[in-house]
């Protein structure tokens, strides 16, 4: 029960950091070798050598953050925000060092006057550290992954 509660709180915090645009704090949730991965279809087992919507280590995350924070990132100028809801949190595996968790998310995005909805499943591999959990892998299987994208995704879902 304790692990369940801690893991849930961690996932909520992850979503909260995205919604509040605290990009650096969000990147800090990852281990040094952590990866954020959004495969284009659920059958993919690895991001290595595969097309991916996102397949980012911390360095690429820094590039993305640097871009959106730059004053000349034109697409960042207009009103833009997201709201995540994370639920259905299930611990799949747990060992002394690591927890594997599956959950579901729903993300609503507002950009100018347009609303978009993205939803799907998160799979997290969380490393237990002295400072709390850190993300080794955040896999995002979006139900919309295969659909045509009306505009693009600018930051992590």
């Amino acid at each position: 029960m304790k692990t369940q509660h801690e893991v849930e709180q961690f996932l909520y915090r992850q979503a909260e950091l995205l919604d509040s645009k605290q990009w650096q704090a969000w990147i800090d949730l990852f281990t040094d070798d952590g990866v954020y991965w959004m495969p284009p279809e659920p059958s993919h087992r690895t991001w290595e050598g595969m097309p991916a919507i996102f397949a980012e280590d911390k360095n690429l995350m820094r590039v993305r953050m640097g871009r959106v924070l730059h004053p000349d990132a034109w697409s960042q100028r207009p009103l833009w925000g997201t709201n995540h809801v994370v639920s259905n949190v299930v611990i799949v595996k747990s060992s002394t060092n690591e927890v594997q968790v599956r959950s579901r998310f729903h993300m609503m995005e507002l950009r100018r006057d347009d609303v978009r909805h993205y939803a799907g499943a998160y799979t997290h591999r969380l490393k237990k550290t002295r400072g709390g959990y850190r993300i080794k892998l955040q896999r995002v299987d979006m139900t919309n992954a295969q659909a045509a994208y009306d505009y693009v995704l600018q930051v992590w879902v």
């Binding site: 595969m50 996102f54 590039v63 640097g66 871009r67 505009y151 693009v152 600018q154």
Partner: protein, 441 residues
């Protein structure tokens, strides 16, 4: 009557500027679909998308929903996705395998892969004495008027008459030659993943941006700077940053004046070749290994020729942007006057080392995925562009940059030396556009 309402499109286009209606008028769009996208050779897909008999891909040519399908004899056909009975769409999926024949989900009419009628349930009792039956070609699925392929890239034209595919592609054939020649086996194979992104803007805005060498350092400066910072950090730590960082940081490190070193070569069909070395031949072990496999396949001299081709990308009018050195392409499908779908694919060089594929994959993921760190700002500009053009704030779009300094020879227009940011490609595209749109001339 209708003819009278069609405006004189040549009046929309002047040598150095065009009317805003070219981008925003719904009537113009319909005419474009008829005269351009449903007449010229349009890219359907690559043969390796449909390797087995019955494999199909749905593709939109102009306003027409079509199917590209592989027949049992190995031939690739392009058919209208429509049952001749009551007009039902034959396949509702984007791709799949139709089995040994197409079967309509409404009344079970069946068709061979080349569209010929196979059977109508109870044909004898139901259709005896009517105009319908096996001998009537109207009982078959309609085929694209013409289908041809070049080095595995399949095109269709919905017009009976016109130049052959090779005649139409002309100098832009180099896009497919450059891509395939880079493969030790002389062929490429599709990676079965299509990223599809919708732009809220007219299709021509995308075409123009593809050849606009002035925009990268303005539009993509934020990405260039961010990538350059991280690139420097990695170099400091490990000595060498992956090539993909260089591809991104170039947006900032190649300053506006340097983009003038690029050159555009514009052809009368509307095609354009943007030259400019992409820095894809570093002296790293992966590249050297790749060079060895090319030498084995073609010899030293030919290898040097192949890797020396100086192309950034090729724009094939009216809607295919091919980045041959990185084996990717974007197909443009106009959905409406202010909505455009791009379908983005990449390829493997057959026989090349995995590391070379990884290079094109990195570009595909970073630049061309729906989470692109590059095109987000392009699409923002396209939307703003279309919004502005829809207003009464002005009537014209200017293409005057380096106007009068183009070098023209035998109908081919090159941007002047050191004038790579010339708006020659836009002027040339619009000249071709006016000719295609011409009132029956």
């Amino acid at each position: 009557m209708l003819q009278e309402r069609i405006p004189d499109f040549s009046k929309f286009v002047e040598p150095d500027r065009v009317r805003k209606e070219v981008y925003t008028d719904a009537g113009v769009f319909e005419r474009e679909m008829e005269r351009i996208h449903e007449t010229l050779w349009i890219y359907c897909g690559h043969e390796s998308q449909v390797p087995k008999a019955g494999d199909y891909y749905a593709v939109q040519l102009g306003r027409q929903p079509m199917l590209m399908v592989r027949g049992p004899e190995g031939k690739v056909h392009v058919l209208y996705n429509r049952c001749p009975h009551r007009g039902n769409m034959m396949c509702g999926d984007r791709h799949g395998n139709t089995g040994e024949f197409f079967r309509c989900s409404y009344h079970a009419w069946t068709f061979h892969h080349d569209g010929r009628l196979r059977n109508i349930p109870m044909m004898e009792s139901g259709y005896q004495g009517t105009r319908y039956g096996r001998d009537n070609p109207e009982c078959s699925m309609k085929r694209a008027a013409r289908v041809e392929s070049y080095r595995g890239f399949v095109f269709a034209s919905l017009a009976k008459d016109g130049p052959t595919l090779k005649e139409f592609l002309g100098a832009s054939l180099v896009a497919f030659d450059d891509m395939c020649d880079r493969a030790p086996e002389g062929e490429v194979e599709i990676v079965p993943n299509c990223f599809r992104i919708i732009q809220h803007s007219n299709w021509k805005i995308f075409l123009e941006n593809q050849l606009d060498a002035l925009h990268p350092s303005v539009t993509h400066q934020s990405t260039g700077r961010a990538a350059h910072e991280v690139e420097k950090m990695i170099e400091k730590k490990t000595g060498k940053a992956p090539l993909s960082y260089h591809m991104l940081s170039a947006f900032a490190t190649v300053t506006i004046d340097k983009w003038d070193n690029f050159q555009t070569i514009n052809h009368p069909q509307g095609h354009c070749i943007l030259t400019g070395y992409m820095g894809l031949r570093p002296k790293d072990p992966d590249t050297l290994k790749y060079e060895k496999t090319l030498i084995k396949a073609y010899g030293q001299k030919r290898m040097e020729e192949i890797l020396g081709v100086n192309i950034h990308h090729v724009l094939i009018y009216p809607g295919l942007s091919v980045q041959s050195p990185l084996q990717q392409l974007r197909a443009v499908r106009p959905l409406g006057v202010d909505r455009t779908l791009t379908e983005i694919w990449h390829f493997r060089l057959k026989g090349a080392p995995e590391a070379i594929y990884r290079r094109s994959l990195a570009y595909y993921n970073l630049v061309n995925s729906p989470a692109t760190v590059v095109n987000a700002d392009d699409l923002e500009n396209f939307w703003k562009c279309h919004q502005g053009l829809s207003s009464d704030g002005g009537d014209w779009v200017s293409f005057a940059r380096h106007f009068g300094r183009d070098i023209e020879k035998d109908g081919v227009v090159e941007s002047g030396p050191g004038m790579g940011t010339s708006e020659a490609p836009m002027r040339n595209q619009m000249k071709a556009w006016a000719r295609y749109m011409g009132n029956g001339k």
